[in-house]
């Protein structure tokens, strides 16, 4: 009897402990050996953003500027372009964008002077794409007084071709994205525009009724974003109205290109500040239909528009469908919209760590990227409030905020994220007024590094140390029938641990551009079994297996035309 009782009690105790520990969510282990090291100074980056603020509290001063990773000089290594604003009234200094050339040794050299990009403007965002298919990435910069299109002349030199291109957008442009929406092999351009603002028409707003503070966008009328169709020969046509994306009420800050309904045609998701977000479904005939409200991505959970900023799209649960990540205002948490595959999205942030951890922060730059190369996209959010004095009226909300990094606990087969920000090192956790953010493997060691811009402050380069303990494969596409960058191409990778995919995309985050090369984390898989590419031209390419930890260059017609191994660690 005693033995029976003891055995019964023992089994019950073990079961109870197991049940409680399961419910407590114990056992989730994030990679602990990865840190993001601030290497800004040692990399030779000295860029400091100038918002032009001089006490007038003009709305554009709150927004900061973006940053782009791209190969400016054609050497195969990602360079950095920082966008800059300027003084409202000249104060004896020039505020220029800054182009940093990658020296292949972890350092950069400022080559702005004489590059052709040394144009003073109130710059906001940047998008990179080879619009004329000449094999060199061109640069589009949104600016308050009028956007600029720079043609890449080679060797790090650029020529302003805005006027000749027919592009004329002086509507407070913010984020932009190159997208071949009609799949004719030429990159078209989407430009998100914010509000109708001018220094002359600036409105007086106040937090305390006595002193001027920055106005929220509700005070200003919205303005239509623009879609430019690439006609070839360097010419563009404004097709915003014809395509059905012209909406004068929108106050757009972000754009993500995705194929949410899986029909092979790129759709557009536009984030709006205090206006409903827009989801434009591509009708495959040069027009779009807006589906944001019906899809459940226009509003927050209460049916009210949020202050949406940066955005990105990726398949975070290997469902085969792209999901959405949206950076929102403080007290509104990130939006993490899961694509149900029925035209409906479910915002899973409120029931997850992502929502709870991001409730008080104001997120501008945001993107999915696989920082630990385990094969599941993680989340990075760059935060910082717009109002310096916000702490006075909302003590829990701060002007300077640390970023957020969420590890995707995908290997457990659950859609679950873990906040690992605190483990990423002291420098990474420093509160800043972040705005733009983008990623690339600048040191060619396989893992993805981050660059962050701050408003009226320095930029930061964070090197990923330890991410490459897992295996990976990196691919840069070269289109032939499709656009040269392969923007819009879907790449599917099969390895022992399963299938994953990603789409080459411009835009995303906030006013920024990440590297167009795709990096896939392979975890412990040492080989890739198959690579399949669906090009925007409709061409389907199937490549055989290859070893992990390589940089591949894949041509639309010739297949793999380049392979290289990591340069340094």
């Amino acid at each position: 009897m005693m033995r029976y009782l003891a055995a019964f009690g023992g089994v019950a105790c073990v079961a109870w402990v197991a049940a409680v520990s399961t419910m407590a969510g114990a056992g989730i282990v994030a990679p602990t050996s990865i840190t993001f090291t601030d290497v800004t100074a040692q990399a030779g980056i000295t860029f400091v953003h100038n918002s032009g603020r001089a006490g007038q509290k003009f709305l554009p001063e709150t927004l900061g500027s973006g940053v782009a990773w791209f190969d400016a000089d054609g050497d195969g290594w990602p360079d950095i372009l920082f966008i800059n604003s300027k003084d409202w009234t000249p104060r004896g200094r020039r505020s220029l964008p800054a182009l940093y050339r990658n020296n292949h040794d972890g350092t950069f050299t400022n080559i702005t002077a004489g590059s052709g990009l040394d144009v003073e403007m109130y710059g906001m965002g940047v998008a990179i794409g080879d619009y004329d298919n000449d094999g060199r990435d061109d640069v589009y910069i949104t600016a308050l007084e009028g956007d600029h299109l720079f043609h890449n002349e080679g060797h790090g030199k650029f020529r302003d071709v805005t006027k000749a291109s027919g592009i004329d957008n002086a509507s407070f442009g913010t984020s932009a994205a190159w997208v071949d929406y009609d799949r004719d092999g030429k990159l078209d351009l989407f430009v998100a525009n914010y509000v109708q603002w001018s220094a002359k028409g600036d409105i007086w707003c106040s937090l305390d009724g006595a002193t001027k503070s920055y106005c929220t966008p509700e005070s200003y009328k919205g303005t239509s974003s623009k879609l430019y169709h690439n006609l070839g020969n360097g010419k563009f046509e404004d097709v915003s109205k014809k395509a059905g994306i012209a909406d004068p009420t929108s106050k757009s800050l972000g754009v993500a290109v995705l194929d949410y309904n899986g029909d092979g045609w790129p759709d557009l998701f536009i984030t709006n500040d205090t206006q409903p977000n827009k989801l434009y479904r591509n009708n495959r005939n040069g027009t779009f239909t807006e589906e944001g409200m019906a899809a459940g991505v226009a509003f927050g959970e209460d049916g009210v528009a949020r202050g949406a900023m940066g955005v990105d799209a990726a398949d975070y649960d290997r469902s085969g469908r792209p999901d959405l990540l949206v950076g929102n205002f403080s007290n509104q948490m990130l939006g993490l919209y899961h694509n149900e595959g029925t035209g409906l999205f479910v915002d899973e942030a409120p029931s997850s760590t992502v929502g709870r951890a991001s409730l008080l922060t104001l997120t501008f730059g945001a993107f999915f990227f696989d920082y630990d190369l385990d094969g599941y996209p993680d989340i990075f959010a760059a935060n910082g409030h717009i109002e310096e004095e916000i702490g006075r009226v909302q003590p829990k909300v701060q002007y300077k905020e640390p970023p957020l990094l969420f590890h995707n606990v995908g290997e457990r087969g659950k859609r679950q994220f873990e906040n690992v920000t605190a483990r990423m090192g002291a420098a990474f956790n420093r509160p800043v007024v972040a705005r733009g953010a983008a990623y690339a493997d600048y040191d060619h060691d396989g893992d993805l590094d981050i660059v962050v811009t701050t408003n009226d402050g320095p930029a930061y380069l964070f090197r990923n140390d330890g991410g490459n303990r897992n295996n990976w494969i990196c691919m840069r596409l070269v289109g032939r029938k499709s656009n040269r960058d392969g923007i819009g191409a879907v790449v599917r990778v099969t390895s022992k641990s399963g299938k994953q995919w990603n789409m080459v995309r411009s835009g995303s985050s906030y006013c920024s551009q990440s590297d167009l090369a795709l990096t896939f984390g392979l975890g412990s898989d040492s080989t890739v079994d198959a690579i399949e590419i669906e090009w925007p031209s409709g061409e389907k390419q199937k490549l055989g297996g290859t070893a992990a930890n390589q940089f591949l260059t894949i041509d639309e017609t010739a297949g793999i035309v380049g392979k290289s191994r990591p340069g340094r660690n």
């Binding site: 009782l5 969510g25 009420t249 019906a294 409120p350 029931s351």
Partner: protein, 192 residues
């Protein structure tokens, strides 16, 4: 998204287990040996705790919300929260019952219509979802109101967003479809 932390329920159950064990021990027969008695009661308590844990995990709503709705069955905030939680669990049909209860209280509740639209989309009821979308557009505040009324409000401080002859609100006429449920018909009548 799976539940991630259940620390508080686990703590409550631990207390329940101890209370239960103590209770049984207090009324136990003195003929059972001391050690056997302890192990038996511990085992019984643990088993009960496991059953309780399992039952709680089967509940679609958090205990606090369940309790609130028991006390205040017409609380719109709690009902909306319940429907929202069920949406996250993809229990679309179940949530509609809660949304019906909100409709009884306030047929113009914007969040109710928004959540109902999402649930109907989840159920692949395009017509129903379209009807809800129309109602949302009808009842929601126009996001541009502040910007549109800026000038009149500056000129005349007593004006506000609601008081505006210049309001070119993109309002949606309520064409009542034949398939509209009874409750929604009442909404339409009241709004016209």
């Amino acid at each position: 998204m799976s539940p991630e932390k259940f620390g508080r329920p686990a703590g409550i159950l631990l207390v329940l287990l101890l209370v239960n064990t103590a209770y049984i021990a207090a009324f136990a027969s003195p003929t059972i040996s001391c050690m056997g008695n302890g192990v038996l009661h511990l085992a019984l308590g643990v088993t009960l705790a496991i059953v309780l844990l399992w039952l709680i995990r089967q509940m679609p709503l958090p205990g606090t919300l369940f309790f609130t709705l028991g006390m205040y069955p017409r609380d719109r905030v709690a009902l909306n929260q319940a429907a929202r939680i069920l949406f996250l669990q993809r229990k679309y049909a179940e949530a509609l019952k809660y949304l019906d209860r909100i409709c009884d209280v306030d047929p113009e509740d914007l969040q109710m219509h928004y959540t109902r639209m999402l649930h109907l989309r989840g159920l692949d009821d395009a017509a129903g979802a379209g009807r809800e979308q129309t109602l949302i557009q009808r009842f929601k505040a126009q996001e541009s109101a502040q910007a549109i009324t800026a000038k009149p409000r500056l000129l005349s401080p007593e004006n506000n967003n609601e008081r505006q002859q210049i309001h070119d609100h993109e309002s949606v006429p309520l064409n009542v479809p034949a398939s509209r449920p009874k409750r929604a018909l009442v909404v339409a009548g009241g709004a016209q």
